[in-house]
């Protein structure tokens, strides 16, 4: 029963793992077990949260975008260059977001209109956008960002920075939007059964392109947050984030085969990925344990999930064929069928005989 519940609600299993992690932390040192720690991890997860929302949308449509790290870097560089050139902060951020949107729409067009497989298309743009980063920055780090820009991610009201509040709102809006709006549902419909979605009049291509576009926009936002958090922009900004974003979503129950998943699950996945990091620091363990723990837990969750699904399928198959497989159940049916067949045989014989 519990297993079925956890399988249906992957959010719950991830939440359970997170609680477990915090429990370990509490065992080691009770003083860490505070709301501050929860907030600390939240603050460290902002970028991954934003990326995970985008990944959820793209994966819902049975897509995949591995170029998000490069879009992040590109948006950060664009914002940084414009701010250093004297643009206002909102304008610079606006342009950066626009660049991200365009990058995402281009990915979407490749996948949807040109029928290029998602991984190949975004693999290409991964290199392309990263190259643009270097081209724009001239290979140098961008430093000396305005203090007001950095302040966006400094703790403010209730211990949360302005951006942290924004991300919280974004998470709620995205979660509800994907679940309850027609557009949100249509993304899942497209990913679950493309032909079926076409049949009921969903504009399949447009939905797909929009998902990639929004994902690009969110990646750009992640890039801006990144720049604000660390205060400068290296050329490698965002590298490798695509894998973390996908891993977060998958852990949170978003299927790469499309059609299932929630933003809440993906966000919990992202929170988990970050909490390992933060907790290692608190436990004064070396940070290099991070990936192996994340990988091991990801694999355990995936393999268990696969095994449970297999068991459920087997059970459904058994139910479907029970009257044939189960000798007890078979007995009555077989007798009934034989009883039905026998008189038929005789009527048949007589009718043949009459001829």
């Amino acid at each position: 029963m519990i297993i079925r519940f956890l399988q249906r609600h992957r959010e719950a299993s991830v939440a359970l793992i997170i609680v477990f992690l915090f429990a370990i932390l509490g065992l080691v040192d009770r003083s860490y077990l505070s709301f501050d720690t929860v907030l600390l991890v939240y603050g460290n997860s902002l970028i991954l949260f934003v990326l995970a929302i985008g990944a959820t949308m793209v994966m819902a449509t049975h897509g995949l975008d591995v170029s998000v790290g490069s879009i992040m870097g590109l948006a950060a560089v664009v914002a940084g260059l414009l701010m250093n050139a004297g643009w206002g902060i909102p304008a610079a951020i606006g342009v950066a977001l626009l660049v991200g949107l365009v990058c995402g729409l281009f990915n979407g067009a490749l996948v949807s209109l040109l029928n290029v497989s998602a991984i190949v298309a975004t693999l290409g743009t991964l290199g392309l956008y990263r190259g643009l980063v270097h081209l724009l920055s001239g290979g140098a780090w961008i430093e000396g960002l305005p203090e007001n820009f950095k302040a966006l991610t400094k703790a403010g009201s209730l211990g949360l920075s302005p951006v942290a509040w924004l991300v919280l709102v974004l998470l709620i809006v995205a979660h509800l939007g994907l679940r309850y709006t027609a557009f949100g549902r249509s993304m899942f419909a497209v990913g679950d059964n493309r032909e079926g979605a076409r049949l009921i009049g969903i504009r399949v291509n447009e939905v797909q392109i929009a998902a990639y576009g929004l994902n690009g926009l969110l990646s750009a936002l992640a890039g801006v947050i990144f720049a604000s958090q660390i205060g400068f922009i290296p050329n490698t900004a965002g590298t490798g984030m695509e894998m973390r974003a996908i891993a977060s979503s998958v852990l949170g129950g978003v299927s790469l085969l499309g059609g299932t998943g929630t933003v809440l699950g993906a966000a919990l996945g992202a929170y988990f990925m970050t909490s390992i990091d933060s907790i290692l620091v608190l436990l004064r363990l070396e940070a290099y344990w991070n990936d192996i723990i994340a990988g091991a837990i990801l694999l355990v969750v995936l393999i268990t999930d696969g095994k449970i699904r297999e068991a459920v399928d087997r059970h459904l198959r058994y139910q479907k064929y029970r009257k044939f497989i189960d000798p007890q159940a078979a007995g009555q049916h077989a007798d009934a069928a034989k009883a039905a067949a026998r008189p038929l045989k005789t009527t048949l014989e007589t009718s043949e005989a009459r001829k």
């Binding site: 027609a182 549902r185 059964n193 009921i200 009049g201 504009r203 497989i325 048949l348 043949e352």
Partner: protein, 506 residues
């Protein structure tokens, strides 16, 4: 239909004129004319591949038309897309459920329906109550049985206020009671002026509900008019007429060998996924027909013997040696070869060269290093033997016609040197000439001593080829026919059981 005034005066909802459609270079629709008027149920009849579903998908905007004219409510609709079709009030309930397997029943039905969620939900609940379907709104569609999935598709069509509703074989998985409820619903809709296309294979249903029937064969309308103006025999003849078929299917050609050969296959009390209590034996030189309607457990039985599906009880002996807990490889090594019913899905590697397909079952018998020259030489022999029409043995299978693809599949099976050959629908979707070739081949293989288990939905085929016929009925053996008892009539009665609609079966 009773209660409806003559509808011919009203402007037609759909008017199709001389519609043509090509898939690749094959013409699926060849100049079809069709009219649907408000308040009318227009039934479409025809065999597999006659073009009914293609025509309906075209009206729903899923396929574009290549030539001809399509008018919906008097306006040109030749460039229709699913989106504009929906705006024009057209809804298609497809034959194969096209649901979203990961989403709930409610989401599936209400997806993309405009309006207040709560009201729609309430309407859906009453509708489910009315139609008597026992399903909860929160169930995942992928976990429903096929019949329930079909019901969800129908609900989808009913909840949208469609002006033109297309039902593609809606009753194939429903119980008689559910069909009755559905028909009541259809009558209510037509009374409101909705036009309905209704595809079915069941003549009784068509006589009950349809105002007009059009019969399609090979992409053309061969007969059209009110159902009562035709007899059952006329309709069946129009539907199933195969030109040139008389040449080789007339009479009962299968003559049992004078004396039985050695026993090759014995099945004792076998039960598995979809069948139980099956016992029979198959001898060298014998063709045993396995008949029954689709879903009667024939294919499941064959796949269990071959080792693709697990057996629950019972035993299988090949030439006296038991075969159990086996996989396809063990069966192949024991000499049991299975020709699957769906050649594109389970039989062939359609993008691979012909010669790769032909050798796929014997690769494991050779050495690690592939004997490419021998492989090619063996296949050229088979090309001659089976009369496969192809350019080169390196061309991909998909470039061949259906009939030649089927011959390649036969070549693959024969290359394995079978002692027992299980043929599942060996002539599905092939033309007359190839059908004749395959019949001759089967006769010859049996004469050479091969033991053949022949599964077919085509009763004429079973009658023509088999020495004995085992008829399956709902997963259980319905009876064994031998010698002169093997008639199309007898097979049909045994496979439909008591009270079956014999009109449709004949």
């Amino acid at each position: 239909m009773a209660g409806t005034s003559p509808t011919d005066q009203r402007a037609p909802l759909v008017e199709a004129r001389q519609i043509w459609k090509f898939f690749g270079s094959i013409a699926v629709l060849r100049g079809v004319d069709l009219t649907l008027r408000p308040g009318e149920v227009h039934a479409l009849l025809g065999g597999n591949g006659a073009g009914k579903s293609t025509l309906m998908k075209m009206i729903a905007g899923l396929h574009s038309l290549d030539r001809g004219e399509l008018l919906v409510c008097g306006e040109d609709a030749s460039a229709m897309t699913p989106v504009t079709a929906r705006q024009a009030g057209i809804h298609l309930v497809p034959q194969e459920p096209m649901l979203f397997p990961s989403l709930s029943v409610e989401e599936n039905v209400l997806m993309h329906v405009p309006g207040n969620r709560k009201e729609l939900r309430a309407r859906l609940e009453t509708m489910i109550g009315e139609i008597g379907a026992g399903m909860t709104l929160s169930t995942q569609a992928g976990q429903l049985e096929v019949a329930d999935q079909q019901m969800v598709e129908i609900l989808r069509g009913l909840i949208r206020d469609a002006r033109i509703l297309i039902l593609d074989e809606p009753t194939s998985a429903l119980t008689p009671r559910e069909v009755g409820k559905l028909f009541a619903r259809i009558r209510a809709l037509t009374a409101q002026g909705v036009g309905i296309f209704f595809i079915s294979h069941k003549l009784g249903e068509i006589r009950e509900i349809a105002d007009i029937v059009s019969i399609l064969r090979d992409g053309q309308v061969v007969l059209a008019g009110p159902p009562k103006s035709f007899t059952d025999a006329e309709i069946v003849a129009a539907m199933t007429h195969v030109e040139g078929r008389e040449d080789f299917t007339l009479g009962h050609a299968a003559v049992a060998p004078a004396e039985r050969g050695a026993e090759r296959l014995r099945v004792e009390g076998l039960a598995g996924e979809g069948f139980a209590d099956v016992t029979f034996s198959l001898h060298s030189g014998e063709i045993l027909g396995l008949a029954g309607v689709v879903g009667s457990g024939r294919t499941e039985l064959a796949e269990t013997i071959y080792g693709i599906r697990p057996a629950a009880r019972g035993r299988v002996f090949v030439e006296g040696k038991p075969l159990s807990g086996h996989g396809p490889r063990d069966s192949l090594d024991a000499g049991v070869v299975y020709l699957p019913e769906d050649r594109q899905v389970s039989g062939l590697f359609v993008n691979a060269p012909l010669v790769w397909n032909a050798s796929a079952l014997v690769l494991h018998r050779g050495r690690q290093w592939l004997p490419l020259a021998k492989e090619r030489a063996d296949f050229s022999e088979q090309i001659k033997l089976l009369g496969i029409v192809c350019g080169s043995s390196d061309q991909p299978v998909r470039t061949l016609s259906g009939g030649n693809q089927q011959k390649v599949l036969l070549a693959k099976c024969l290359a394995a040197g079978p002692r027992v050959l299980i043929l599942d629908e060996p002539t599905r979707g092939v033309d007359v000439a190839v059908r004749a070739d395959i019949y001759r081949l089967i006769d010859r293989l049996a004469a050479e001593g091969l033991a053949i288990l022949l599964i077919s939905s085509d009763h004429e085929e079973v009658e023509r080829l088999s020495h004995r016929v085992l008829v399956m009925n709902h997963g259980y053996p319905g009876g064994m026919l031998e010698g002169s008892d093997i008639t199309i009539n007898a097979i049909a009665r045994l496979s439909f059981g008591v009270g079956a609609n014999l009109d449709a079966a004949q």
